[in-house]
Symmetry: D2
Subunit: 430 residues, 4 copies
């Protein structure tokens, strides 16, 4: 039985550059923020390696999580004002908003790629497992933690609560676009969030948008489009990501091959061995990763130490478009790399950003993904891309940006007359 949420005697606030203030009125929210699991988000950057491209992007998932909570709080207030909200869902929605990213690990993108972990699963494990967060949630009522986990897992019966946290225009996306724009300093990413809130309506447990607010929604989608291509998929960021992934690969391989590390990565042993517990996972953060990258510059394995040196000192890989002709000659290229003494398994990498944002707006394609529906003056619902020329035009397009990454410096250092040097340069067109 869920208890009424206990109010704080006095509202607490966090100063936030994006929303001015984050307002906390319930003891549970306050206590959740204070848990070690949540505080750990301070040591995990919101945008992974992006800070190597946009130096302002050093903000952590901690602030973002507070921001998502705050947006949810304000939207729920608006829904309440319009009598569109069942107040018994408030605490579930607020907790889910606050905790939706709590399962993220350090540099999640690369980490998950190499170790097969999944941050959404970890979020649920943290909510349901042996953690302070779990204990606090259960104090609210038996089964409360389960409900919050269901919202994260999108299986919660009240679809409205789920939509608030994960849908086309949810509190998560609204916060990160504004926040990432703020910290990177780019001009993209701004949209009229308050207007979007005002035109939000609920129809059959679904969030829809009044037609009169279509342009604000359009603008949000264009902002997102620009943020993806200008910030999130920036080729320099991806270069750092490529190197980071290779370091983790190399370390794991070395460990499995019995390499004697000068600095043994204690906190990573379990994950190398494939038997990491939730408790082990929660000890990981970006300081741990960066510490080992720092000291591994002195390891004897040249690949590991070189890659760590590159990451720590921003000696990134260069890239060329991975054109059809290159696809054709990839094996040749790998061979030339090998013959030149540059291991292609670690120094020649394709990175593709094909999961482009337009897809997000192709209705019906990906399981639970819902199209954005506009509520027309006559009460009917029209899918956004049917009404908006701009969105219509980018719906259904799939833009893929595929690049080939490599250490140009290493190639330039090969002797001028080296056959492989010329071959590589020819094939890459550099």
């Amino acid at each position: 039985m869920t208890q009424a949420a206990q109010k704080l005697n006095e509202e607490k606030v966090f100063k936030d550059p994006v929303h001015r203030y984050i307002h906390v009125r319930h003891r549970l929210i306050w206590d959740l923020i204070g848990t070690p699991e949540f505080q750990r988000l301070r040591r995990i950057r919101q945008l992974g390696t992006t800070f190597l491209t946009f130096h302002g992007a050093e903000h952590s998932r901690f602030g973002h999580s507070l921001g998502v909570y705050e947006i949810a709080r304000r939207v729920i207030d608006i829904f309440k004002y319009r009598n569109n909200w069942d107040d018994s869902e408030t605490m579930i929605a607020l907790c889910a908003a606050l905790l939706h990213d709590v399962g993220h690990g350090p540099f999640s993108h690369s980490f998950e790629k190499v170790f097969g972990t999944n941050h959404e699963e970890y979020t649920q494990k943290i909510i349901l497992g042996d953690t302070e967060i779990h204990r606090l949630l259960e104090r609210q009522g038996e089964g409360f933690a389960e409900k919050v986990a269901e919202v994260i897992g999108k299986t919660y019966p009240n679809r409205l609560v789920v939509s608030l946290i994960s849908s086309q225009i949810d509190c998560d996306r609204m916060d990160y676009l504004l926040r990432d724009a703020y910290f990177t300093g780019v001009s993209y990413g701004h949209f009229d969030m308050e207007r979007i809130w005002r035109v939000m309506r609920t129809v059959d447990d679904q969030i829809v948008f009044k037609f009169s607010g279509m342009h604000a929604v359009e603008d949000y989608i264009m902002s997102r489009y620009q943020m993806y291509w200008q910030v999130y998929f920036h080729p320099v960021t991806r270069s750092a990501e490529v190197i980071l992934t290779q370091i983790l690969h190399r370390a794991k391989t070395l460990y499995q091959e019995g390499f004697q590390f000068k600095y043994t990565p204690h906190p990573l042993i379990q994950i190398f061995d494939g038997n990491m517990t939730l408790h082990d996972y929660l000890k990981l953060d970006e300081s741990v990763i960066l510490y080992f990258f720092q000291v591994w510059q002195e390891e004897k394995d040249e690949i590991l130490s070189d890659l760590c040196y590159r990451f720590m000192n921003r000696r990134l890989f260069k890239y060329v478009e991975f054109s059809p002709s290159l696809i054709h000659s990839k094996d040749q290229l790998a061979l030339a790399f090998k013959q030149a003494g540059i291991d292609p398994r670690y120094y020649l990498e394709i990175d593709s950003s094909s999961n482009s944002p337009y897809d997000l707006y192709r209705p019906g394609e990906e399981g639970e993904r819902q199209p954005i529906e506009l509520l027309m003056p006559d009460g009917t619902l029209h899918e956004l891309s049917q009404e908006s020329d701009v969105v219509g035009s980018i719906t259904g397009m799939r833009r893929t940006d595929c690049k080939l990454y490599f250490p140009k410096d290493r190639i330039d250092e090969l002797p001028k007359h080296d056959v492989n040097r010329k071959k590589i340069k020819n094939l890459l067109g550099i």
Copy 2:
């Protein structure tokens, strides 16, 4: 002989949230930014533990250093336009602006307190020692590095260059006020920087300000005053600082007493032993510190592990004003702590922020510190506090904020009837 600075074929830029863009036009500047010593600043937060109070304050010294360079660049452009600038000093000034903080270590404030290091000295060592930065500077001309170091050390003959980097209203302070306000999100810290630039004049190698711009200067000083008391001296930040200092103390003491660490702090051994080289110093960053704080939560020494737990999970000390009556009863309090099993050497700490910003404006007090001079319409110079009511009023005041920090939770956990509990509570008035 100093060479003419080589221009880049195409200007390079960094997107910066504070100055919009940082413009780099000289190869030397570009190369300096690329050195490991400079890249290391990405791993040292600009405001130390402030991010535990203002969650947005996660920005590093890297961005600030670029910002100081950019301000210097723009101010020099204005001076050039007015024919007030000797262009042969440009590269020296720009390098000094860029590198002025390169000697900072992780959490400098506490670090220097415990280990007696000095970041300004390290800045000079990095410029003059066996580093990439040094090699790049010397490529510009023999003795060039020495000149840059002199600007940092304030011994450079051209006082104008020195003033640009360190004086009452220098490029350093202008950047950090704006930048720290931006990242914390506070409303203080804004002032009309461009107007200040416009009213800057040079009189006898000194930077002075046209009287007509006095209000902009006033506003800058008030901004600074507010930033000091609202942000830099925030009592919660100082609580984190107290704990951090105690951790370093404890670790050093344990090491010196031969304690067997489960996780030996390899990168700190030399500093514990008092024989750290420049090379050792440059390997230190906040990831290293945070990594050990993370793993030391598992050390057997209860003080070390508890303090580390507190820092990592933001279980900070509470505080009371360190009032005269408390001063009187400090020994009693320490005794009660001891008897209650709470080591007062680590759990009872006075922190004083007495180096208040008003002092900065008391002319003549501290050696090289220059008062702010206004250039009056009749050509004479008047010291700012003589002309400005507002500044006059805060000049000569010395505001001291002295607080006593302690772990309130530990005291609350003592048995209700415990004599020391009552005594402590009485003495602290909590």
Copy 3:
């Protein structure tokens, strides 16, 4: 009997650059905004002649009035959340906030000086007289208009409602500082309004501020101080004000002397005759004034046409400090002007901005003016200047800026050898 305020079916909003959106939820507020008396505020600039100094300051009292209403609405929401507000006062407070400036005439400052009108009286007349506003207010309940007028007149029994609209830190001042800073583009005028709202408490029908928010209050007062001296009392604005006042004087004098205007100022006749009705007053706006200034450039009276030419084409008077020595020689100066053919009654004018903002913080001096009280942790109230060094320092100071305005061009045009030219130049020190 006051009726419950009728809610709009759907909230209406105005896009506002300062508060993002102005939210209207009651039909009465919506209808009041739609009245001719309120729409007229669109044709009266918020800052009179300031647009001639800061070209962005072209904003009208219409937006400001909406802004004051919006701040009142938000503050009341916060008070309600804390159960510190009697909801039966809400509509009275909101109407008073919205209407507090509705009695302003064109260029009020000069207008009131010349014609002895008073905008606060007119606000009350509009609320109580034969107007659409009055009819709408009375529809809300008999005597409702009277209550709103009492709030404006500061005689309303509930002091809290009065304080909201007019006190040291009221909704009016909060809006205009932020709004005027926004439109002029100056960096002053920013303060943390939301923090001030959060630390507002009510003690015995008085608004006080929690001690913990003292710095936000300090910052507000410093912002205001800077806005006064940087914007509101700007000497160039005052020069335009001087000319405007002289035009009105001259036109009135000419009319009273029977001058045959080429363009008779129909809308001003009643005021010249001293028998203006409320209906006449409501027809006045800045277009009317500017129209006549435009056409009067062609009137035969040289003083009138010259002054109008000056105002319309920004040929403003210059100024010197009105120093003690000048006071002494004022008659001499007037004589020299006269002999040089420049009428000193219109071309030699002292303007003093002595009603300086510090006075506002001298407790107890001016009748209803209340000091700012801080609510200390122990529940007592301390007057702000006792606690704040900065405010303390500017309390009790009276800064006066007294300037003498004159048409420098006319003096420069006098023949080089003209005795009066020399005399005037000597006396003025130009």
Copy 4:
């Protein structure tokens, strides 16, 4: 022979909310700003009737003109830095930028529609005619005014100078998008102007944009698209525009029919008679228009007084989409209006915003309009819509928004059983 432009002893600045400061370094620019013809722009709103929809949009063409000048100044500085600019063109370009809108009349859109005037022609007349502006320009060198006029008229031989002032991405458009967004307060309209400047290149006297900056250009175009549909073509603004046009029509018709005005519109007589001189034109501003609208509320002609009342008090027309079925029944509707006593010539008006912004990007369509060209890495030029998916998608579309405006209140006031009332309501679907 053009003289070298005289520099001011000290740079002068205007505080500007959009560009922070407008910097004036040449005496000519300073003097031009001071002319009556330029000062008159203070009395002409930048966005005509838009302030009735967005109350912040009260800014005048004066600030915009300064802004265009400032952008031109900064862009030229960048071109100079890259040696892409012939400095002898600087003053011509700056003057053209400053003066490009000087020919605008009050509420130009409606005014030109009714009286057949053309503001671009007037800009040239002012530059070339008997004006202070002309005299100042000629002082700079014989034929200088002619050159400036040619830039405005797009016949100046140096196409680069012309492009700076009028092309797809010119200084005019850059300023107005940012400025109008600032004053209305909308979130649209922001784009990264500085990045656009940085990627501007000159190829054969044409301004092109480096491919790497394509996204900034895309963003500019999307901003513009949003500004057009969200702000410039706002249906409420157009309603006010419709009424304004009808007032001018009515007044002109009445004058031509010999109507005896109570308040004769002296400044408009010449234009009614079709023989307006430049001198007459320059006396017109929005105060003049608003003055007559104000007093005409008392004219005997009911149409004129009613329309004026509507405009002054914002009793605007309502609208419905002008659908195909409505087109069919327009005559019927007009007849029903007539029979109901509502003159359809003044109270039933179609307004179409078909000159949509996408057309601007259809290359080659409209005479001098140039497509936006991207400079590819290989040195070739590609037209923007070929490279940008987003722009490609909106190129060639023509969106038309056609609305039928009418006074809904008048129809609602008809007796319930009135045949025409029902007929009108049916036809309009209201």
